[in-house]
C-alpha cells in the first residue's frame, strides 16, 4: 500500500485460521491501521490481494465485506452519538438483515429485533443503559458499545482496532475477558498497544515494523524474541512489569 512516495505497508502476507486470535503490534507509524483499512476495504491496495473465505475481496466495498462476515471496530469510538444505546444496537443488528431496506414497518415495533438487541446489550453489560443517549455515556461504556456493535453482525472475522484504547486497567481487563469469551467461533485480528490485552487474548502475535512483518510467533516466543524487545517492548525491566501483569 503506497501513499504517493510513501510505502506504508509492503510485502505483508499472512493468513488467519478460523477461530484464531491474532494480535498485530508495532510502533506508531508501522502501518497497522493502514493494513486494517486494506483488509476492511477502506483503502484499495496499490498491489496485492485480499482473500476472505476463498473469495478475492480486494475490490469489494466495505459493506460487501461485512455482508460476507467481516466486522471491525474503530480505534476512535465510532457510534451513533445522538441515538440511544438501544437504537445503536438495533441499527447495528439490522445491517446484515434483509429487513434493512424495509421502508414501511416500524423498526422500534419489531419484536424480533428488540429481542436480539436485548441479547446483544446484555452480553455487553449495557442493557440497563439502553435508554441513555450515547453522548451521555462514560467513555468506558462507549468502548463496550463500540465492540458490541462490531459483534452485531455475527461476524466470522472480527477486526479490532485498539479495543482497549484509552481505558483504565480495570475496564481494559473487562474487554480482555470479553474478547476471550468470544470462543473459537470468531476469528479475531486485533491491533493493540496494551500488552496485557495482547498476552491475555492472542494466540499468535505479529510485529509490524516499517510496513513489514518483522517477526511473528506465540506470545511466549514474542516475549522472548530479541528483535521484538529491540523494536517494541523496550528494556527488560519494563517488559518484566507488563509481562507479569499479563499473566495475572
Amino acid at each position: 500500500m503506497r501513499f504517493g512516495g510513501l510505502t506504508a505497508v509492503k510485502d505483508v502476507s499472512f493468513g488467519l485460521e478460523p477461530g484464531e486470535r491474532v494480535a498485530l503490534i508495532g510502533p506508531n507509524g508501522a502501518g497497522k491501521t493502514t493494513l486494517f483499512n486494506v483488509l476492511t476495504g477502506q483503502l484499495k491496495p496499490s498491489s496485492g490481494n485480499v482473500f476472505f473465505k476463498g473469495h478475492d475481496i480486494t475490490r469489494h466495498k466495505v459493506f460487501a465485506r461485512t455482508q460476507l462476515g467481516m466486522a471491525r471496530s474503530f480505534q476512535i469510538t465510532s457510534l451513533f452519538t445522538n441515538q440511544t444505546v438501544r437504537v445503536n444496537a438495533l441499527i447495528a443488528l439490522q445491517g446484515t438483515q434483509k429487513g434493512r431496506y424495509d421502508t414501511f414497518r416500524r423498526l422500534l415495533g419489531d419484536r424480533g429485533m428488540q429481542a436480539a438487541a436485548q441479547v446483544l446489550l446484555e452480553s455487553a453489560g449495557l442493557w440497563e443503559l439502553r435508554e441513555e443517549v450515547v453522548n451521555s455515556l462514560a467513555y468506558g461504556q462507549q468502548r463496550k458499545l463500540e465492540i458490541a456493535l462490531s459483534l452485531a453482525s455475527d461476524p466470522e472475522l472480527l477486526l479490532l482496532d485498539e479495543p482497549s484504547c484509552g481505558l483504565t486497567t480495570v475496564e481494559s481487563a473487562e474487554i480482555t475477558s470479553r474478547i476471550r469469551d468470544l470462543g473459537t467461533k470468531i476469528t479475531v485480528l486485533m491491533i493493540a498497544h496494551d500488552m496485557d490485552l495482547v498476552f491475555g487474548v492472542a494466540e499468535r502475535v505479529m510485529l509490524l515494523h516499517y510496513g513489514e512483518i518483522a517477526c511473528e510467533g506465540t506470545c511466549d516466543e514474542i516475549r522472548a524474541n530479541p528483535i521484538v524487545r529491540d523494536i517494541y517492548l523496550g528494556t527488560r525491566k519494563s517488559l518484566g512489569a507488563t509481562g507479569g501483569a499479563g499473566r495475572a
Binding site: T40, Q42, K61, V62, F63, T66, Q67, A71, R72, F74, S78, L79, F80, T81, N82, Q83, T84, V87, L90, I91, A92, Q94, G95, T96, G99, R100, Y101, D102, T103, F104, R105, R106, L107, L108, G109, D110, R111, Q114, E131, V133, L149, S150, A152, S153
Partner: protein, 354 residues
C-alpha cells in the same frame, strides 16, 4: 410486556425520551403526545373552510402545499443529513410535468396526471442524484457537504434555465398559465373549496407514508447515516444506495407538492425551479427544526401567514422579511418551532397528568 409500551415516540425519539404514565398501561405515551394533537389539528383543518372566508382557506391550502414541500426536504436533510439547496428542482419538476401534461399533452385526469408527474420527478431525481452523490463525500464528521450544496444549487438553476430555453413546451420565461381545475374523474367540479380538501387528503396521505418511512427500518438506517456513515458501511449498509434512494423519495414528495402547487396557482413561471423556491423549503426546515417530523409543516403555517401579511402591508420589502425570518429563527428559536412546540406541549401534558 410492559417494556414495549415504553417505546420512544417515533420521529421525536431523537429528542430524548420522556415517558409518561398516562392512561392505560398498554397505550404508548407517544400516541397521546403525538396522536391527540394530530387528530385535533386535522379535525380543525377539516372544518375550518366552512366558516372562514375563502381567502383564509386559500392560505391554508398554500400552507399545506409548502408544508409538504418542506417536509419532503426534511426526509433527506433532517433524517439522512443531506442538506439540499436545490429541492425546488423537484417541486418545479412536479409542477411543470403536470402542467405540461394538461396543457400540451391533454391528460386532464388528476390521478393519472399525478402519477405521471411522480414518475417524471423520480426519473429527474435519479439522473441528478448520480453526479450529486459523487461529490457528497463519505464519513463521520469529515463529510463536507459544501460541494454537494453547490451542485444542488446548480440543479435548480439548470432546471429553471431549461424551462426558459424549451419555449414550445414550457412557455419560456412567461411560463405556463391557464391550468384548469383538477378533474378527479368523479363527475363534479373541483372548486377552490373542494380543492382545499383534495390538498388536505393528499397531504395527509403523504404525511402518513413519510412518517412510516422515517420510522421504518430504512428510516433508522438513514438516521444512522446522518450520525456516522463510516460506521454504517462497516455494519454492512450500502450507504450510497440509501442516500440515493432517500434523495429520490424526497424528490417524489417534493414533486407531489409541486403538482398541487400547479393546480393551486394555475400559473407557473421558471422561478418555480429556482433558488427562490428552494429557499422556501430551506427556511421551512430551519424554522421548523430538523429534529421533528412535523416541524416544517408548523413552520409553513407561520411562513404563509407572514407572507400574506407582508403582501398586504409591505409588498416591496418581501426579500427583507424573508431574510429576517431566517435571522429571527436562528436567534430566538435555534432548535426550531417544532422542538419548541413539542417541549411546550410535553410540559402541558405533564402538568395535566400530575
Amino acid at each position: 410486556m410492559a417494556r414495549w409500551s415504553a417505546e420512544p415516540g417515533g420521529a421525536d425519539a431523537r429528542m430524548g425520551e420522556h415517558r409518561l404514565a398516562v392512561g392505560a398501561r398498554r397505550v404508548p405515551p407517544s400516541l397521546i403526545e403525538i396522536g391527540i394533537p394530530v387528530v385535533v389539528i386535522s379535525a380543525l383543518v377539516l372544518v375550518l373552510p366552512t366558516f372562514l372566508p375563502a381567502f383564509v382557506s386559500s392560505q391554508i391550502t398554500k400552507a399545506m402545499i409548502y408544508g409538504l414541500f418542506g417536509m419532503s426536504l426534511n426526509i433527506i436533510w433532517g433524517y439522512a443529513g443531506i442538506p439540499s439547496f436545490g429541492h425546488a428542482a423537484f417541486f418545479g419538476a412536479g409542477a411543470y410535468a403536470s402542467a405540461i401534461l394538461i396543457l400540451k399533452v391533454g391528460i386532464s385526469n388528476f390521478w393519472l396526471n399525478l402519477l405521471l408527474a411522480i414518475v417524471a420527478t423520480a426519473v429527474i431525481a435519479a439522473i441528478l442524484g448520480v453526479p450529486a452523490f459523487r461529490v457528497f463525500g463519505v464519513g463521520a464528521g469529515n463529510a463536507n457537504p459544501i460541494y454537494f450544496l453547490l451542485a444542488t444549487i446548480a440543479f435548480g438553476e439548470l432546471m429553471s434555465r431549461l424551462a426558459i430555453a424549451v419555449r414550445p413546451v414550457t412557455g419560456g420565461s412567461t411560463g405556463l398559465s391557464g391550468i384548469p381545475e383538477p378533474d378527479l374523474g368523479l363527475g363534479f367540479r373541483v372548486t377552490s373549496f373542494r380543492f382545499y380538501y383534495l390538498v388536505f387528503v393528499t397531504t395527509i396521505i403523504c404525511l402518513f407514508i413519510m412518517y412510516r418511512i422515517v420510522n421504518s427500518h430504512y428510516g433508522y438506517a438513514l438516521r444512522g447515516i446522518h450520525d456516522n456513515e463510516r460506521r454504517m458501511q462497516a455494519l454492512g449498509y450500502n450507504t450510497w444506495l440509501y442516500k440515493y434512494t432517500s434523495w429520490i423519495i424526497a424528490a417524489v414528495f417534493g414533486g407531489i407538492a409541486g403538482v398541487l402547487f400547479a393546480y393551486y396557482g394555475k400559473t407557473l413561471v421558471p422561478n418555480t425551479f429556482a433558488m427562490i423556491t428552494s429557499d422556501i423549503a430551506f427556511l421551512l426546515v430551519i424554522m421548523g427544526s430538523t429534529t421533528t417530523f412535523f416541524g416544517p409543516l408548523l413552520a409553513s403555517v407561520v411562513y404563509v401567514g407572514v407572507e400574506y401579511a407582508a403582501s398586504l402591508y409591505l409588498r416591496d420589502r418581501w426579500p427583507l422579511i424573508f431574510g429576517a425570518m431566517f435571522v429571527i429563527t436562528i436567534m430566538l428559536l435555534p432548535e426550531g418551532i417544532g422542538v419548541w412546540i413539542l417541549k411546550l406541549w410535553k410540559k402541558v401534558i405533564r402538568g395535566a397528568v400530575t
